[in-house]
Subunit: 163 residues, 2 copies
């Protein structure tokens, strides 16, 4: 583990979920490693889906996780790349479809996850592209998704530009 050699590190999160009835899932999440942490992150469905709306939908957590994962890497890697980022906004639209016949269990298909990124600070357009590219490659969630599913646009000179 020298400062110039390649190093690998592990990132492990465990979730333990229990369901007693209906759609309420009590989920406890544990970050493993030298500085462990844990969180109670229950989910439920809304009334229209037969739930009690006692907690967010699972997909609400997913949408936050994906968006915030890229955001976290933008902040972390700006420092590593010595880029002066003031603040930034990221908006993600996660679109899936379900396909079903009659009342049989349905099949899910992701359509597209569109992510718009607006980074403000003392950065050139090419700095922004470099930073976003690094953030994508470092995002644990993006790395786990089907290739091509996330489509990114950067705000460059006031124009949304696919990157």
């Amino acid at each position: 583990m020298t400062s110039h050699g390649k190093i690998r590190f592990d990132v492990i999160f465990e979730a333990v979920g229990h369901n007693d009835a209906k759609f309420r899932n009590d989920v406890q999440v544990f970050m493993r490693g030298a500085h462990p942490a844990s969180y109670h992150l229950p989910t439920d469905e809304g009334a229209m889906h037969g739930g009690d709306a006692s907690a967010p939908y699972p997909l609400a957590y997913f949408a936050s996780a994906l968006t915030a994962c890229v955001m976290t890497q933008i902040r972390a890697f700006a420092k590593r790349l010595s880029l002066k980022v003031d603040n930034f906004d990221v908006s993600t639209r996660c679109h899936w479809q379900g396909e079903q016949v009659g009342n049989a269990p349905y099949v899910s298909v992701p359509v597209a996850f569109n992510m718009d990124i607006d980074i403000r600070g003392q950065l050139s357009n090419s700095d922004k592209r470099e930073l976003l590219k690094a953030a994508q490659s470092g995002c644990f969630i993006e790395a786990s998704l089907k290739p091509g599913l996330v489509v990114h646009r950067l705000l460059l000179d006031d124009e949304w530009t696919e990157v």
Copy 2:
């Protein structure tokens, strides 16, 4: 949209995130559609990662989302398949690695997401297999992940069995 024809429905969640400084991301999530809902799901990093631990890590939300998405479909599809499920537990271990050289931005790689499912009720082993298979196919998050990444085991006759 007859009861026998194939129908498609859309599922859309949008996340809007803002970062002002450090690792705190304020994220608002919106479920779109006929019965909209919204949630404030901020994230932060722990102190060891330079954050203020003011909210869960993004990956904590992800681990809950993946686990609870499958759980929700187990509950929903048990009903559609007329299977008598009392209660169930699902544990997921999400394992990633980061690879870095020196202090350059690192690259993320998913290693495996291991999911153990214990369904209790008046079900045969083959009922449990059928139910889990349907839940996997209906899980919006699993459908978005790289194929083969999630490895499932069912507790069948007190033995963990890969399925």
